[in-house]
């Protein structure tokens, strides 16, 4: 699949109608999402044929991008049931199959080394300090191969994002 096509498909996805500030919900833009997954696949072979987990999947952008790039199995995890509903609708729209789990990343019980790659755009920690570290900690524990994650350069600054 060409990058432009991937970006275009992701741009058509539904996003949060009422983002919850305390969860730092905001959409992962199609521009960055498509390039992130494209690089993960073309430069590192971390997507196609692999088991990919999207932590804090929200409306599913990153996980669905992985599915579009032929991940064998995609699992999206998020704490918010409304986001998961949207992710489910988005998957249906694109006729893709992803597994979704509702959980708090800090007390996720996960056994085994079945996940190859984790992709995520986690809360940056501007609302709840250290949220980004919680996500990284779990991602590094669970991913057997690679973790792709987006972070803010200064998480000390409590400047609002939106």
């Amino acid at each position: 699949m060409k990058l432009k096509q991937l970006e275009s498909l992701l741009g058509g996805l539904q996003q949060f109608p009422n983002p919850k500030m305390e969860l730092e919900q905001y959409p992962t833009g199609p521009h960055i999402a498509s390039r992130m997954l494209y690089t993960a696949e073309n430069s590192f072979g971390d997507v196609s044929g692999k088991v990919v987990a999207d932590f804090g999947c929200g409306c599913g952008t990153l996980g669905l991008a992985a599915a579009l790039l032929d991940a064998e199995h995609v699992i999206g995890l998020d704490i918010d049931s409304q986001s998961l509903e949207i992710a489910s609708l988005n998957a249906e729209d694109l006729e893709l199959d992803i597994d979704l789990v509702q959980c708090d990343i800090r007390n996720l019980g996960w056994r085994g080394q079945t996940v190859n790659t984790v992709v995520m755009n986690p809360p940056f920690g501007t609302r709840k300090k250290g949220a980004d570290m919680d996500f990284l900690f779990v991602a590094l524990k669970i991913a057997s191969q690679a973790v792709y994650s987006l972070h803010k350069t200064t998480t000390r600054d409590v400047s609002h994002l939106f």
């Binding site: 064998e72 979704l100 079945t114």
Partner: protein
């Protein structure tokens, strides 16, 4: 792969399955992927899970030599990728705590006193 993480629980895996509605999906067969996954799977847990969802064709025990058999791989494929719990619950083997599954999504959120 999910396990129960309630405070104090030492053995929260495997979660038992209470199946109310099971859906069978069509997933493309990928032998290489299956052969790769086989050593990472706790076989007994998979067999028990498949049985709770009505699939009893998996052998109770499996060794790596079996992955050369296409017949075996097809059963493995079916149990691992095509059986989908749509409605029901996952149950902690130690505490009996129910984690409900609705529209295919398990809710693993813990209550405040369980953390």
């Amino acid at each position: 792969m999910l396990s129960c993480n309630i405070k104090g629980v030492t053995n929260g895996f495997p979660l038992r399955i209470e199946a109310e509605k099971v859906v069978e999906k069509q997933v493309d067969f990928n032998a290489d992927f299956l052969k790769n996954m086989f050593p990472k799977i706790e076989w007994k847990a998979l067999v028990a899970a498949a049985k709770s969802m009505g699939y009893t064709d998996l052998p109770d025990q499996a060794e790596s030599s079996m992955i050369d058999s296409e017949e075996f791989l097809k059963k493995f494929h079916h149990a691992l990728l095509q059986l989908h719990l749509e409605e029901g619950a996952l149950i902690c083997p130690e505490t009996g705590r129910r984690f409900p599954v609705n529209k295919g999504i398990p809710n693993m959120l813990l209550h405040e006193d369980e953390v």
